[in-house]
Amino acid sequence: MIDKRVESVAEAVADIPNGATVMIGGFGEAGSPIELIHALIDQGAKDLTVVNNNTGSGEVGLAALIKAERVARMICSFPRTANSTVFPELYRAGKTELELVPQGTLAERIRAGGAGIPAFYTPTSFGTPLQASKEVRSFGGREYVMEHGLVADFALIKCERADRYGNLVYNKTARNFSPVMATAATTTIVQTKKIVEPGDLEPEAVVTPSIFVHRIVTVPAPLIESELVAAGATYP
């Protein structure tokens, strides 16, 4: 029998080594796998390269991982949001590197990584400082920038419902980067609010097919980042 469920968030992230590249789902708090991130803080892995659209908020979740100085390098599109103070401090102090990628290019690079596409051309960023040092090429009279596929050792994502095979559905805009990250990681680790029986997810409506998922842990009532931030919570 195929059963990708594991008992705890601690077990789910236990083998993430120092220096790993970790994609973390979520756009702001929507879809952020906060319990998996906290388990990663507890686990202690450091020198991580983290891929996420942002850099977290307050001092919980991704921001707490950054504050604990576990992140050597961030790959993201928008490291500056309301309540985001942790990353800017470490970045200015030279303790964390930043690779800034336009949001659509970030999504497409992750998709390409998962799709076995090593590189592609995009019009995005042509003629801007983010094009600097990248290869430019003309197709049909327009200029495009070459971008590379992005893969990771691990992906940490959150979903709404999952079955034991690893079929996933999400909640509204919490979907965001998670389906493409699931395709681009060697090991995709999922926290789900609910486990259902195989067949309970309508096969036409599965968003992430099971082939992209390796471990599933149930977190029935995940923490809500904005509530924690408003309360001034910190982790650990």
């Binding site: 756009f27 702001g28 708090e29 929507a30 879809g31 659209n53 599109s77 928008f78 490291p79 500056r80 949001t81 309301a82 990353f87 800017p88 970045y91 200015r92 930043l98 800034l100 990628v101 336009p102 949001q103 659509g104 290019t105 970030l106 999504a107 497409e108 992750i110 998709r111 995009t122 019009p123 995005t124 960023s125 042509f126 003629g127 801007t128 400082p129 983010l130 999400y170 909640n171 509204k172 805009t173 919490a174 979907r175 965001n176 980067f177 998670s178 389906p179 493409v180 968003v207 809500i224 980042e225 904005s226």
Partner: protein, 225 residues
Amino acid sequence: MTTTQALGWTREQMAQRAAVDIPNGAYVNLGIGIPELVAKYVPEGREVIYHTENGLLGMGPTPGPGEGDPELINAGKRQVTSIRGAAFFHHADSFVMIRGGHIDLCVLGAMQVAQNGDLANWSTGAPDAIPAVGGAMDLVAGVKTIHVITQHTTKTGEPKLVASCTYPLTGPGVVDRIYTDLAVINVGPEGFHVMELAPGVTFDFVKERTEGNLVPAASFVSETE
């Protein structure tokens, strides 16, 4: 340089003026800030579908108190609703819509617009700034028509419509039209073409506050005349 004081359009009026130009049936992406206000002013009888790059087509208004879902947000990370007939999708699919030229119109804020349509709206280039770009470069590269809403000058009175951007570009030659507190301006062959002036504002008043080449458009409408 003179500040514009009470003369010209308010933020709400700028949004309202921009809304007039959104056609029925358009697929529209609204940037953060004043552009977010545009939706509520679209004239009655027009049906417009709003896209937000974090994975929703058919974005509705802000939810009522206690009715929001922290996982139903817009690109500005504010809680929104979805209309009947909406669709959710992942980020790569969302940027297929943007990069692939499927979105009809994007309304964005700006730090500077150059007379050739260059847009700078993501970074001052200051050495200690934390660079953050989001989806702006994808939007200007992919969306069919780019409208900008911005104050005509900075808080200290510096022109935001310039001969050439001094801030890092978001994209070259991408802006089609600009709504400021003073005027509606198209980017055209001669630079900034004034289409329309805010009540009480003269062409010369705008010209004094503009750095690039500003000309009256052929179809120029002055409400003061």
